[in-house]
Amino acid sequence: MSEDCTTLEAARLLGMSVRSVQLMVDRGELVAWKTPGGHRRIARASLEHLRATVGKTSLPPRAAGPKTTTKPQRPRVLLIDDSIHFQKLVSLLMRQHFPDVELHIADDGIAGLALYGQLQPQVLIVDILLPGIDGATLITSLRSHAQFAHSRLVVVTSLDEAQRAPYAFALDQLPVVHKPRLVTELPGLLTQWLPARSLEQGDAVAP
């Protein structure tokens, strides 16, 4: 098997459109090169990495056909953080405060970008220090896309203010939660943006 594949093959493997794959290549989210004729060739290893990391998340199953009843779509939050400790803490917080919200998790920037495109979450929670594409680059990339206007973004980090200085260009006008303050600050921020019904249902006593 060749170590590279075409954009069409990559699109089939990822279940995306050819155009989406082309954009991912152009944004540097997939490792690729161009033939003298300008055709993209994508490293199979980079595809496998993307599939493996995206596969770790709990994507909802796609609808198999037309439904007879319409169920309101649950709000979605995407967390991009490679720390298992904080993935678990955010999961605990979401279950406690927003039980009706779908939490999806990506543990690197590349998988996060791919999932963002698929999910279009209402809220994106991003760590600054990430393997692969760092959080600041990821945020800058996301903010340059029109579709991102529909999402709210929260930055979470263990870096103190002085350590964040190199990333200031990406953090302008964004809420930043210092990880030691995650429990005390994150739910309040999310309450502003997630639909109120989540909170109401979260307060209800289970039958």
Partner: protein, 115 residues
């Protein structure tokens, strides 16, 4: 079904302070997080040892950074300081000192939670 881990204590001064300062007084949430950390620390010990053996300082730095964040949230200030030192040593490329700090951290994390 048996569990390998002791239940993390919420009665130590560090835990009490952390519950009040970092967990908004929510002892149950602290306990749930501490239990999840106990499970993850076992994996962190293996990963850290492999990175230490390989002399992979950037990866060791990332792990130390993550451990420091979790440890400070849990209120384990002394071990947090060790993790921070390890992070700095790894950032500075000081493999010898980083290995010494890692040994201290590894010993504590391998027997987590503290009796």
């Amino acid at each position: 079904m048996t569990t390998r881990h002791r239940q993390p204590s919420v009665a130590t001064p560090g835990a009490r302070a952390a519950i009040a300062a970092n967990f908004d007084g929510d002892e149950q949430l602290y306990q749930a997080f501490a239990v999840s950390c106990a499970t993850q620390f076992a994996h962190d010990v293996s990963a850290g040892q492999a990175r230490c053996d390989a002399g992979d300082l950037p990866a060791l730095r990332r792990l130390a950074h993550d451990l420091a964040s979790a440890l400070t949230l849990l209120g384990h200030d002394e071990l947090f300081a060790v993790a921070r030192t390890l992070e700095s040593q790894a950032a500075a490329g000081d493999l010898h000192s980083a290995r010494a700090s890692w040994r201290v951290l590894r010993t504590q994390l391998a027997d987590w939670p503290p009796p």
